[in-house]
């Protein structure tokens, strides 16, 4: 019979176990869309979420959907990978389309720090390149020796580490530059400033229920402080990518956290909290944000004159450590949440027709960065 002391000890141990993060799952590779010929392949790397084999918070999706859930709009159940892998052209008076294979790597960027998670992603990318399954992510032994990389949010931090460190031989497989939507390349002020948000005595307290979904206290979010990420860059483990990062940032200014004040979009329930977050984090007019990340998080460069930085705003931020090519590609109206599921696209136009070509040229929608991934990125 268990003594009272032993019972108390076991209870304490159980409570401690409950407080600790769940066991981290392994990476998984999901083949979502086909049709790619040759090296027309894109691999999508998600941001802060657990889309690993344990799938605890993959944008509200679970194991039945797989990691594509991160890129899927909760309201319409459509994913942005479709339009992001349709590239149109205008040939002989008619529109033609080229498809790209779409793979998604799901991994645990919740219970693991970004440097820990990067080893899962790197090993999985190496498996895709070699047709092996050393990481456990590729039991079907899919193989593509060349692929494009597309990231969202902290997925860019993960890929930047892999490429800057030149680990897992990934550099040799990558075609062109990395296409990075709302990248957390320089970390995020939120990961440090919001750690103690429970203690705020002002309106930030009202955001806690929403922030809990982003789990500001988990190892992944906590690892993304600016000090930690730039500290890694000081040592050559970030900011040194030999592959260009084509950054999709926010427009900044009024409504930038809220789709330019538009609410005519599905899955807008978090928009209010995103806007309010700006004040919790100490907004500065020199440091516009997309609802979670600031320009200085998303748009680092060490050469503001030569990396396509616009002169009319404060976008590109100088970090001496970012000696690789970090290119200001374009500014999207989508906020941090909508930029990974193209909410405008799926409500306004259905799954088709956002990027297109006609006799005047080819076009995409800056509100739906996925459409520009295919049309301008590949």
């Amino acid at each position: 019979m268990m003594s009272k002391l032993a019972f108390c000890i076991s209870l304490v141990i159980a409570l401690i176990a409950i407080e600790r993060p769940a066991a981290a799952g392994g990476p998984q590779l999901q083949y979502v869309w086909g049709g790619g010929v040759g090296s027309n392949v894109a691999v999508f790397i998600h941001g802060k979420a657990d889309c690993s084999t344990s799938m605890s918070d993959c944008n509200s999706h679970d194991a039945t959907t797989g990691p594509v859930g991160y890129w899927t709009n909760n309201s319409t159940n459509q994913n942005m990978l479709y339009e992001a892998t349709n590239k149109y052209a205008w040939v002989n008076g008619a529109q033609t389309v080229t498809y790209y294979d779409a793979f998604v790597i799901g991994y645990d960027l919740r219970n693991k720090s970004f440097w820990d998670a990067a080893s899962d992603v790197g090993a999985c990318l190496a498996d895709l390149g070699a047709g092996t399954n050393a990481s456990g992510c590729n039991p079907n032994l899919y193989q593509r020796t060349s692929y494009h990389l597309v990231t969202h949010s902290a997925g860019a931090t993960v890929v930047d580490r892999i490429l800057s460190a030149n680990w897992y031989g990934v550099n040799a497989h990558v075609v062109g530059g990395v296409l990075s939507i709302a990248p957390a390349l320089a970390g995020s002020r939120a990961s440090s400033a919001l750690y103690g948000v429970d203690g705020y005595s002002n309106f930030c307290t009202s955001l806690v229920s929403w922030l809990a979904g982003w789990a500001i206290k988990d190892p992944a979010a906590a690892s993304l402080t600016r000090g930690a990420v730039i500290g890694e860059a000081n040592k050559g483990y970030a900011g040194r990518s030999p592959r260009a990062f084509n950054k999709v940032t926010t427009t900044g200014g009024g409504g930038s956290a809220n789709n330019q004040n538009s609410t005519s979009v599905n899955e807008h329930d978090n928009d209010s909290a995103m806007g309010a977050l700006a004040s919790c984090l100490g907004y500065s007019s020199n440091d516009d944000m997309d609802g979670l990340l600031y320009w200085s998080d998303s748009d680092p460069t060490n050469n503001t004159a030569a990396n396509n930085c616009p002169g009319g705003d404060h976008s590109c931020h100088y970090y001496s450590q970012f000696t690789g090519s970090y290119w200001h590609w374009f500014e999207s109206w989508a906020n941090h949440s909508h930029s990974r599921d193209d909410a405008y696209t799926t409500i306004d136009r259905g799954q088709n027709g956002v990027n297109y070509c006609n006799s005047s040229g080819c076009f995409c929608d800056y509100r739906a960065p996925g459409s520009c991934i295919a049309q301008g990125g590949f």
């Binding site: 479709y82 020796t145 103690g196 427009t251 984090l281």
Partner: protein, 355 residues
């Protein structure tokens, strides 16, 4: 200018509106970028554009890049977090040294500042140290108080620059691996308790060291600096270094190289690419600063950093114009291409969705 948000009034960021160009007609040849800073809801047509051009290919090889400003790899910038957004009060804190090897203590510097940057008094504060999987256990783990009494690593008594000095003991061995999670807990008059976080590297030294042997030569149009290392246990090792002009203040290029090495004396080459030196137009001799050796463990995503060597080496004289001006061209791959159409892939499970 900022207006206070509420849950029902989500927009908090305002900026003077700029003129909105007439929206182009979708599909016409007249297209424009969206207008940042406008407060009006955009129309569909305003956001339909010809996609912007992506970055050109990098003209430099992996591991060799232009540098505008160097930095000691044993450092990291401090965190700068808001305490009271309305008054502008904020806290600036971080490790004095981002790389700490036992038995050195971990030192965290803390300053509470007002909007103008004036230091403020902190009523009470402490710093907790935990492993990276224990980030969510607020107020737990080994901890020390922040002080301003000139003791420990605190530099000046009563200067309102606070310091936490933590010397991990045997009971804290679990912290010794890579990055240690640092939680700062503050009690501030008028605002109550706050918690903020940062990280510090608390690691063993690599199984090797930069042994002071260096050599330099111009090879194939680039400058190669050989860094001598002595390895005591085999593994994967990396050397980094920053190239400066002879004045030791004008940064020119960054280089890093990683190789597998066995026990013994070796040389790791740092390549400073010719085009960087040629285009910069600064003649040598050059100075190698901020050299550091790392032992890498890619399978865990971590490494063990060594000790910064600054200044590491001064090269012989060179003329910048003598270095090759050519852009880097990646060698053609010899690996056979495998695609969805390759025989090995034809019978694989199909994609989740069909177009």
């Amino acid at each position: 200018m900022r207006r206070e948000p509420t849950a029902d009034a989500p927009v908090v960021v305002t900026r003077a509106p700029v003129a909105v160009a007439p929206p182009p007609i979708a599909g016409s040849s007249s297209v424009a970028s969206p207008s940042p800073g406008t407060s009006a809801e955009p129309s569909d047509e305003e956001s339909i554009v010809a996609p912007a051009a992506v970055a050109p290919e990098s003209p430099y090889p992996p591991g060799s890049q232009p540098l505008t400003e160097g930095s000691d790899p044993a450092t990291a910038p401090p965190e700068d977090d808001p305490v009271d957004p309305d008054s502008g009060m904020h806290v600036v804190f971080g490790p004095r040294w981002d790389v700490v090897h036992p038995p050195d203590p971990i030192v965290i510097d803390v300053q509470l500042l007002d909007k103008a940057g004036k230091r403020l008094r902190i009523r009470d504060g402490r710093v907790f140290f935990r492993t990276e999987r224990d980030t969510n256990r607020s107020g737990a783990g080994a901890h020390v108080a922040i002080v301003d009494d000139g003791t420990g690593a605190d530099r000046v008594k009563n200067d309102l620059s606070y310091t936490a000095t933590f010397a991990p003991g045997e009971a804290d061995r679990a912290l010794l691996d890579f990055r240690v999670f640092v939680e700062l807990e503050l009690t501030i008059d008028g605002t109550g308790q706050r918690r903020y976080v940062t990280w510090v590297e608390y690691t063993p030294k690599p199984h090797g060291y930069l042994d002071g042997r260096y050599a330099d030569a111009a090879i194939a149009g680039s400058l190669i600096v050989q860094a001598g290392v002595t390895i005591t246990a085999g593994g994967r090792f990396k050397v980094i270094g920053s190239l400066y002009a002879a004045d030791k203040t004008t940064a020119i290029a960054f280089a890093q190289t990683a190789v597998e090495l066995g026990v013994g004396a070796h040389e790791i080459p740092l390549m400073f690419f010719g085009k960087i030196l040629h285009d910069r137009g600064i003649d040598g001799p050059y100075v190698v600063r901020y050299a550091m050796l790392f032992e890498e463990f890619p399978e865990r995503g971590v490494y063990w950093p060594g000790v910064t060597v600054d200044t590491a080496y001064t090269t012989g004289p060179y003329r910048a114009a003598a270095f090759a001006p050519d852009a880097f061209v990646a060698p053609a791959t010899t690996e056979p291409a495998v695609t969805a159409q390759s025989p090995s892939q034809r019978d694989k499970p199909p994609p989740l969705f069909k177009r």
